[in-house]
Structure formats: C-alpha cells, structure tokens
C-alpha cells in the first residue's frame, strides 16, 4: 500500500496519512502502534476499504480498492476481510452462534461445519453458543467477535484495539487466539493497538507518528516495544 489521506482542505487540512508505503505480508500477525492521532486507525480503515484514500493505492490480495464500486467493496468485505472491533459490536438480539455465522448468512452461504466447529473450539465457546451477548462477559463477547471475523476464512482480519475493553487476562486469551489463527490456521491479522503487551503477541510492529511510518520491529518483546515508544515520544516532544 502506498497512500496519502487528507481530511479537510486548505489551512485546516490534516494529513492523517502522509505518503505511507506499507505491506502486510500474508500469514503474519502485524501490529500498528503509535500515539493518539498518529494515523494508525486511518491507516487500517483505508487498507480495509472502509475509508477512501486522497491519493495512492491500497490492495488486498492484488485487488486495488480505490477503483471499486460500493457493491464491489461490499463483496470484498464479505469474502476477504474480517473485523474485530474494540466495542465487540455484536448484534444484541442474536445468540453467539448466530452472531458468528452472521457474515456467512449475509453472503447467503452456509457455514462449513468442520471449519465452524474448529473456530468455535479454538475460541473456546462451545458451551456458550446459545447465549445472547448480554449474557456473556466482555472477554467472551470479544471471543465471539474473533470467531465471527475468522469464520469466513478472510484474506485478512483487521482488529481495532481488540483488547481495549477487556481485562488483561481476557485480553491475553484473545491475543492468543489471534496468534493461534495466524500460526495454526494460516490467517493474516492486522491489529491496531496502543498497548505494548498486546503488540508483543505480533510477528512485527509498525510504529506510526504524524501519518508516517517511523519504525518497524520484528519478533517484538514487550520491553523492546516500550523502548521504541519511549524513543518516539522523546522525538516528537523535542
């Protein structure tokens, strides 16, 4: 992806993404970090086809997003992209199983039973399937959301602060599942986070600041990430 995203125009224009070139390799778990307002969410929205670029190109598996119509973007989201949101975003009136199967239902497809069972076993929800979101804990809801993102076997799963609303133990579980999905199931995961502990589950971390990629760390550890962040904050404050 090579991208520029500008919000507004003229004097008030904000360059949320400033000539960013980035590539998320398939079968890897990539984390995007950076201070608030660094453009990490914008980057994810643009690469996921939720938002449009001011200039540049974004590709998912070789498909260029900027040229797609609303219908084509819908089909792309349906088949190749999975989302995990910070606020779970489950449909309160549907059971856990129905929520997980929702993307397939929207696509008019029946869930592949083996894959469905495997995903559910992976996230450990077998005994919670008939519960409504309100009857589940925050961690359980987010596991349902992860299962929902994985069930359609998308090319890439985008996770926006997936551990932001859950306690650290549940957060660790969710990150384990995401890593498991990458390692064992061959999924590609892109995660936005500001939590160094969460980022340490990834294969590599991209550091964003003022709409630019300023650093990259492969096989990160929590202390390594914190060191980099400290350097970044020192840079931007002087």
């Amino acid at each position: 992806m090579h991208a520029t995203k500008v919000y507004g125009s003229g004097d008030t224009a904000v360059r949320a993404l400033d000539d960013v070139t980035v590539d998320f390799p398939a079968g890897r778990f990539t984390a995007i970090m950076g201070p608030s307002g660094s453009g990490k969410s914008t980057l994810m929205h643009c690469v996921a086809g939720l938002d449009t670029l001011t200039s540049g190109h974004a590709y998912i598996g070789g498909v260029e997003l900027s040229g797609l119509s609303d219908r084509e973007l819908t089909l792309l989201r349906r088949k190749r992209v999975g989302f995990v949101f910070q606020a779970y975003n489950l449909i309160p009136t549907l059971t856990a199983a129905e929520n997980i199967a929702l993307p397939l239902r929207l696509a008019g497809a029946a869930p592949d039973p083996d894959w469905f069972r495997m995903v559910i076993d992976t996230v450990g929800l077998a005994d919670r399937l008939t519960h409504r979101p309100a009857e589940l804990s925050g961690g359980q809801q987010q596991r349902v959301a992860v299962a929902r993102a994985l069930v359609g076997r998308p090319s890439v799963v985008f996770a926006d602060e997936p551990t932001g609303n859950v306690d650290s133990r549940a957060g660790a579980e969710i990150l384990d599942f995401l890593r498991h999905a990458v390692r064992e199931l061959g999924q590609t995961v892109v995660m936005v986070t500001h939590d160094a502990a969460a980022a340490s589950y990834s294969d590599s971390v991209l550091f964003l600041s003022d709409g630019r990629i300023v650093d990259r760390l492969d096989r990160p550890t929590q202390s390594g990430i914190l060191d980099r962040l400290r350097v970044l904050e020192a840079d931007s404050s002087c």
Partner: protein, 651 residues
C-alpha cells in the same frame, strides 16, 4: 437477514407498539366501514328478497322523475296506475293471484301528539295487503282494517307512540286523518322494517287518504301459477298493458330496490366513513415514518456493523423494510379484527342516535380483508421506505466511530421550497375563498394540499427555532427536566416537525368540521335573514317527505293575527327532459314573505303554465323570459294537471 429483522422487531416491541397502534386504528376504521356497509347491503338484500318472496311480477307506471340523482326530500316520484289495470292483469293466463298496492307518506301521531319515528327512516302509509304472499307484514294483534278510517300499525311504532288496539289517533298524509288502530302488525317476526313506521289502511282508505285519488294505485303485485316462471308471467302481462305502464319480474324489483338503497344511502354513508379512515391512515403514516426514523437513527451503529461484515445496501434496506412489512401485516390483521368491533360499535352508535340500521350479524368479505390488509401494508411500507433508504446509506465506517448527530433539515433549498409551497398554497386558498368564480372548491382544495406539503417541507427549518421559543419557559417551570425536554425537541428538528405534522392533520380535521358547520349555519342564517321577510315559518320537524296538509296554509292565513301566509310545496318533475326539484307557492303572496330579488319579469302574476327560475339556472340553460320550457309530471298526465308540455316563463 430476515431472522435478524424479526428478532430486532421483538427487541423493540415497545416502540413499535405505537406504530402498530397507529396502523391498527387506521385499518380498523377502514375495515369497520367496509364490514358495516357490506353487512347493511347483505341485510337489505335479505330484507327486500324476503319481502318480495311471493311476488313474481310487479305492474306499475313506467315513468319516474328523479331530481338530484334521486337523493333527498321529494327527489323522486313515480306515476300512478289506473285501478282498471287490475282486471286486465287478473285475466292473464298464469296469474294465480294479485294484490293492488298503494304506498305513500303517512306520519303517525302518537298518544302524546308527537310524530312517531326518528328522522330519516321512511314513514310509510299503505293499503293493508291481506294476502301474506305479497307482504312481509303479519297481523300480530287485533284484526285487519275494514273501514276507511281503520288502520293497523307496526308494533315498534305502536310502542313508540303509546298506541294500543282500539285507540284513536291521527295520521298526517299529510292531511290529518283521524283513524282508529284496529290491529298491530309485525314485519316477519321483527317489530318493524328497520325504524320505518307503517300504517296500513284498507284499499279504499288508502286511495282516499294516502293517494287522494280514488281509482288509482301505486302498483300491482302478481303471483304466478305453479310452472310459470317470473319472466313468462311478465311476457304474458306486458302486451296487455296500457301505454306508459310496465311489468317487471319480482327479482328485478328486488334488485332495483336494493340498488336504490345502496346507491342513495350506503354510498354517502360509506364515503363519509371512508374519509375518516383515510385521515386516520394519513396520521398513521406520519407516526410510522417517525418511529422508523428514530429506530433507524438508534441503530446506525448496527447498520454500519452489518455493512462492515459484508451486508450490501439492499440487505440493510431490506432489513428495515422487513420490519415495516411485519409491523404492517400484524397491525393490519389486528385491524381487520378490530374493524369488526368498530362496525358493531358504529351500529350501536347509530341505533343510539335513533338511526337504526337494519344490520344483522356482521359480514366480513374476502375483499374487505384483502383491501384492508393491502392498504395497511402499503401505508406502513411507504412510510418506512425513506428511513430504510437512510439506513442503507450508513457508511460501514460508522461502526467504528461515534455516531454523528442528525443535522439535516435546515438546508437552504428545503427552506426555499417549503416557503414557496406554503405561500403559494395559502395564496391559492385565499384567492379561491375571496375571489369566488369557477371551481372554488377544487382550487381551495389544491391550495390546502400545497400548504400542507409546504408546511411538511418547511417544518424542520423552523422546528428548532419554534422549539426554542415555545420551550423557553420550560427550564424555569420544570428545571432540569424542562431544559432537557427543550433540548430534545431542538436537537432533531426533522423528528419534531414530523410529530407536529401528524398533529397538524388532526387539528386540521377538527377545524374542517367546525368551519364547515359554522359556514353552513351562517350561510343559512344569512340567506334566511336577507330573503325571508316574514315573521314566522311553520315547518315539519323532519326531512324526508314530511309536510303539512295544503289546507294548513289557508287555515293559518285565516287567523286574525296573520296578515299574509303562503304554503310552499316541493316536488320532482321533468323540466326540459331533466329531473328537477321544483317549489310551488301562491305567487301573489310569496313576494310578501320572501324577497326573491326578481331580476327580470314578474313572479306575482305567475300562472299555472309558467315557471320562475334563478338567474343561475337561466344562464346554464340559456333561457330568457318567454322561452318555452317543456315540463312533465311523474306520470305524464296525472288527473287534474295539464298533460301537454306547457310553456313556462322564467322570471
């Protein structure tokens, strides 16, 4: 996706209950109206069919004059038949029996000196038909009339008037006739035919008192021998009849009577109630639109989520519309059931008002169900379309962001369009009302619709300001609650305006009836005040064919306190080939009590072969003073009247 819609529906049932109620009421009113009119029609069908069950043919005068489409007082008159036709018919091969019939107007006076029966139902005076095959009336007490001044009355009328066998009372036909009640009759097993009062004379008595023309009849009912069909009977009678007299099968007459009642009474009744149903549904549309707009706004996040998960626009649109369809179906189905209740209720209300409808049971036809369901569904779906489109336009990104407040409504094009529509509408109404001229009603109506559209479009523009101003005292009166309420009304001007529009329609309807009643009263007051130069008017208490004896005018004029009095009569005649309602009066005296504002010619010396018409009629027909105008009475040549078309002169 459908599961999602339906589950969402269940989760929001409280809010949607309001919507469903609005649809339910509208549909219930519609279904109730249809059920009631179907029920009435079926009842009339049965009534007339059973009343005519033993009649295979009817012989009567072929001429009937109808004014104003046969609606209203003195609007239709049929010619009479010479009694000698009875012998002609009796001689026809295949005739098993016949009954000469006389039917006319007779107001029965009760023990307390007041007329029996409410306004509206017919007051029938007839000859008592002794052969039970030709009438549904059955003698229940006493005996049949044997002398000219003996009558039978139906049980309901007797009870209302406090009359018993042996009592003496008066029947106004319209001359007062002193009669003795010798029998009480029932209509089948009922105490009467609806609320119609029935007074039965002997044939001779009816000729004398009801028709005032001995030797004449209203009609002859004929029964065929076994093996002779109605049509065969009519075919045999027809060639023998004198010119101007017709023979119809019993079935034709039944159909005609039913059709007359249906067209004259039911059509008006039905149109009246349907207008209410329409207004109820219009209000429902606003309510549905509002609810769905709120529902859609509340779940912007859910719509966005669905889009992010791969739902197409059509799917989000469909999910909202599916909710509307479900609500529409459920509420309409309930509305149809509710309609049965409304029909029963309306019936009870009309009975209470002394306007009993001869309805038995309730008739629910497939058409009623289909029409009601369809209209209910259509209204709900139409009102849900705009919110559904709005839901489908939610960008998937909204699932990740805080939901933006709805700021729509205050756009400049909206303000301009709304203002232009409203002003144009009001100007049209004003010009129509003050200017007069052709098509006042159409122009005023179009103006009203334009104004309504303008207000609906313009509403959101002013709703914020209006809420601010009207709500200004709220914070002081109600503290935090008050200011929250005010903020709430101001926050979403479109929603506020939509709710106000529903109220607007309601208030508009109430105003309509108030203005209508007031205008009617004031225009009557004015026309009476400007044209009536007399001191006293004597009028029969009811509409219909009620009237007084022609002698009354002379009697009143003879009172020492009265300087001048004139009787006014009305009748339906054919003028220039078209049925018209005409008035008759003593031309010399008329001018003294009524200011006719004569523009041309003179009314005072009108002769029996002359006619005075209003300027409007003269203009429409192109008549001038002296124009020859052919006039015919109902039976062409009733005794004692000029039979040839007479030259009548407009004044």
């Amino acid at each position: 996706m459908l599961t999602l819609s339906l589950k969402g529906l269940l989760a929001r049932k409280r809010r949607l209950a309001g919507t469903a109620l609005a649809v339910f009421l509208g549909v219930a009113f519609l279904a109730g109206t249809l059920v009631l009119s179907d029920t009435l029609r079926a009842s009339f069908d049965t009534l007339f069919a059973s009343a005519n069950a033993g009649t295979d043919a009817v012989v009567r005068n072929a001429a009937e004059v109808q004014a104003d489409g046969g609606r209203g007082p003195a609007a239709r008159e049929r010619g009479l038949l010479r009694a000698s036709v009875v012998d002609t018919v009796r001689g026809v091969d295949g005739v098993a029996g016949l009954a000469p019939q006389i039917q006319g107007y007779g107001e029965l006076v009760g023990k307390d000196g007041k007329a029996v029966g409410g306004n509206g139902p017919p007051r029938i005076a007839a000859n008592w038909v002794t052969d039970p095959a030709f009438t549904a009336y059955r003698l229940a007490e006493g005996r049949a009339p044997a002398a000219d001044d003996e009558v039978v009355v139906n049980r309901a009328a007797a009870r209302d008037g406090g009359l018993r066998v042996g009592d003496t009372t008066t029947v106004q036909t319209p001359e007062p006739v002193r009669v003795r009640v010798v029998g009480i009759v029932t209509w089948g097993t009922a105490d009467g035919f609806g609320r119609a009062t029935y007074t039965g004379f002997t044939l001779a008595g009816a000729e004398r008192h009801v028709l005032h023309k001995p030797g004449w009849l209203s009609s002859i009912a004929v029964r065929a021998d076994a093996g002779v069909s109605q049509q065969q009977l009519v075919d045999r009678i027809r060639p023998l009849l004198p010119p101007g007299v017709e023979a119809l099968t019993g079935k034709q007459v039944t159909d005609e009577t039913t059709r007359d009642v249906t067209e004259q009474f039911l059509a008006v009744f039905r149109a009246f109630l349907l207008v209410f149903a329409g207004i109820a549904l219009l209000v429902a549309t606003f309510s549905i639109h509002n609810t769905f707009t709120i529902v859609v706004a509340q779940r912007t996040r859910e719509s966005a989520l669905l889009r992010a998960l791969g739902a197409g626009r059509a799917q989000v649109f469909g999910s909202v519309l599916a909710e509307a369809v479900a609500v529409g179906l459920l509420a309409s189905a309930a509305g149809v059931v509710g309609g049965l209740g409304i029909a029963a209720l309306l019936k009870a209300v009309f009975t209470k008002l002394g306007f009993a409808l001869p309805a038995s049971g309730l008739v629910l036809t497939g058409t009623t169900v289909a029409v009601s369901m369809l209209v209910g569904l259509l209204v709900t779906v139409l009102a849900g379309v705009a919110p559904a489109v709005k839901a489908s336009r939610v960008p998937p990104l909204a699932a990740m962001r805080a939901v933006a407040v709805d700021r729509t409504g205050a756009s400049l094009p909206r303000a301009v369009a709304g203002a232009v529509l409203a002003v144009a509408g009001m100007l049209t109404v004003l010009s129509a009302v003050t200017g007069g001229g052709q098509g006042v009603l159409v122009r005023a109506g179009a103006g009203a619709v334009l104004t309504l559209l303008g207000v609906v479009v313009f509403g959101p523009v002013v709703a914020r300001l209006a809420s601010r101003l009207i709500g200004a005292p709220l914070p002081r009166l109600r503290g935090v609650t008050g200011s929250l309420a005010r903020e709430n009304a101001m926050r979403n001007p479109r929603r506020t305006a939509g709710t106000a529009a529903a109220l607007l329609v309601g208030v508009g309807v109430v105003t309509l009836f108030t203005v209508f009643a007031a205008s009617l009263k004031s225009s009557m007051d004015r026309s009476v005040a400007t044209s009536f130069g007399g001191d006293l008017a004597v009028a029969a208490s009811s509409f219909g064919n009620a009237g007084f004896s022609p002698r009354l005018a002379a009697d009143v004029a003879g009172l020492p306190e009265v300087r001048v009095a004139t009787g006014l009569a009305k009748a339906a005649v054919t003028v220039d080939g078209v049925g018209a309602r005409v008035s008759a009066a003593d031309p010399g005296r008329l001018a003294e009590v009524l200011d006719l504002d004569v523009r041309q010619g003179s009314v005072a010396d009108l002769t029996t072969a002359q006619l005075a018409v209003s300027t409007q009629v003269a203009e429409d027909k192109g008549w001038r003073v002296g124009s020859p105008v052919p006039v015919r009475y109902a039976d062409g040549a009733p005794p004692g009247s000029p039979s040839a078309p007479s030259t009548q002169r407009p004044a």
